[in-house]
């Protein structure tokens, strides 16, 4: 079982790295879908979450549906409708981004090592993955000009946080109702962002954030 969860985690890491160096919007969206599914699966393979009731099963199904299908689907439509140029248009080049991803992994490794003392053991890879995902999400938001990439970055950040949540906390606290609420928020968030993007596109004929710099002092 452990091997399987590790495999998933490695896949997530890989998806993060690929997203950092991907130059096509569509690829990015697809990777996000994959990552969403993976992230949703992780808790199922963790030891302390073995006993999952029927409510849990339903919840995870919904979660996979939302993270793996609904949200990427939304993004997919958004890209199709909105982005005229399908390039990612980075502020920081792809190679540098990839390099950053590697550094991020190292940093997460370092943080995890440091935190090992105070953590219940056995989750080092999970934690590394989570922190890397989180960091990469923030990095994507800061280093790409397209507004959609920022939504994607946000999702990645969310995934990272979710992973840390699963890694660190006992399931008993976070009831499914609550987690569902969180999920719903994310979904609605992405929807709202999509609506705004749509409007922005109509108003500016583009969704480049370079155009979104008029409000300043």
């Amino acid at each position: 079982m452990i091997n399987l969860s590790d495999a998933i985690l490695v896949l997530i890491l890989l998806s993060v790295l690929i997203s950092l160096e991907s130059n096509r919007m569509m690829t990015l969206v697809k990777i996000m879908g994959l990552q969403g599914v993976m992230v949703s699966l992780v808790p199922l393979f963790l030891e302390q979450h073995q006993a999952i009731g029927s409510g849990g099963i339903i919840f995870f199904q919904i979660m996979i549906l939302i993270k793996g299908l609904l949200i990427p689907g939304l993004l997919y439509f958004a890209v199709q409708r909105v982005a005229i140029k399908r390039e990612v248009e980075p502020l920081i080049g792809y190679h540098a981004s990839l390099f950053f991803g590697l550094i991020m992994i190292l940093v997460s490794l370092f943080i995890t090592e440091k935190l090992q003392l105070t953590l219940p053991g056995g989750h080092s890879l999970l934690l590394i993955t989570a922190i890397t995902t989180l960091g990469a999400g923030l990095f994507l938001m800061m280093s790409r000009t397209k507004a959609i990439t920022q939504v994607i970055g946000y999702l990645m950040l969310e995934n990272g946080i979710y992973l840390i949540g699963t890694a660190l906390t006992k399931q008993s606290h976070t009831r499914y109702v609550v987690e569902f609420g969180v999920l719903l928020d994310v979904l609605v968030g992405v929807m709202i962002m999509g609506i705004i993007l749509n409007n922005i596109n109509r108003a500016f004929d583009d969704v480049d954030t370079a155009l979104l710099g008029r409000l300043k002092d």
């Binding site: 938001m141 946000y154 946080i161 976070t174 969180v182 709202i192 108003a203 409000l215 002092d217």
Partner: protein, 475 residues
Amino acid sequence: MLEFVFLLPIVMGGAAFFLPVSLGRGILIVAALLHLQLTVMGWLGKLDPYFPDYFSSSPEGLLVLLVTSFIFLFISIYAISYMNETEMQSEHIFISCMLLFLGTMSMVTLADHPIVLWIAIEATTLVSAPLIFINRSKEALEATWKYVLICSVGIALALLGCFFITLAMDIKEIDAPLTFSSLNAVAGQLDPIWLKAGFIFIMIGFGTKMGLAPMHTWLPDAHSQAPSPASALLSGALLNCAFLGIYKVHVLMHVAGLGAYSSNILIGFGLVSMFVAGIFILNQPDYKRLLAYSSVENMGVIAIGVGIGGIALYGAILHLIHHSLIKSSLFLSAGNILLGFGSRLVKKTGNLARLFPKTFVAFFAGFAGVSGFPPFGIFISELLIIMGAFQRGRFVVLAGFIFCLTLVFAGAARIVMRISFANAGEDVLVEERMLRIIPSYVLLLTSIGLFLWMPETIFEVIIDTIKVLGGSVNG
């Protein structure tokens, strides 16, 4: 059932979306009135939570709820006239989102479970986004985009903070329900390192929403671009809700014996916020942004007051109440100015005293109030914060506090005077209407009223609120 307080506006908001516009306005007022009634019932202790695991009525929550509900009523009255005047296109969306906004904010005030609190705060962001870009101008879209994205990122980090707090519990193998009330009970046993980490992330997360610098960047954009009733709500109600999240965790930290740590962080953010606000208030060309930065500054004041504790804590809570009343009134007046002159730029306005005498009185009184002149409550709150700061020996903080207050005052006074007195053309786009004047007057008069006579119940609730943090009015 306590949950009615937020369910009612949410349901009515949902209904308003589908009902015809003419009915929607009625629903807005009726919902506001009903909500106020429910709030009062909540105050009287008539309502018990149906899901005590998630919701409860804490004194700080009740305070914020009352303020929110009160100012919402008057903002909605204003909004009706405002919508008339601007011939708003998607009025049903606006009304519906206003109500949803009220509902989610009420949910924040009643939430007792950290993650439920988180969900509610994130929900406020989402339902308020349409309020900002309702007129779909380029600037409004940009502002909304920044608002949603930055707040979402910030709040996502707060979720991480929530997880850390849970972890602080798990590590020590404590088995207690994850609610603030029960956390406070076991606070002493929580793992301090993770608690600190949790506080940092929650501080940054909700601090983003509260508008503390340097995470405040969305605030001036969103507040200036939103239609004035929405700005008033954002500034007067939403920021308080975010503050509530921080406050609850600060209480937890305090009970866990880490109060000094969280206090220092709060004070740091407070000072930075005040200073940053000062930078931008000086020579600010846009008066709605001015008000927005003033909100940043006042959130800083509240953070500092809470961080200092003691009598300053009472001052901070008082500041919160009065700031909400006065700032929302100011935004409503700003709405009238915007309607009258058709521009947010200070240099396009002027001579308010002659052209819009009623708005002028409200606007200037609001400015005097927010600058700490009597007879407005901010006079007391700022005085108490200064006194508290000395009592705790925080001289450097105090020096910064006073410097920033003066800086902000100097900057704002210049612009307010320009708007009020400078010579301008005689063209007026939209005349003043009583319906758009009375709400701002009522809000100001409420502040004056609370300055002259503080009802015993409110006083006691404030004392209840600050008791946990060791705050009292006797130093």
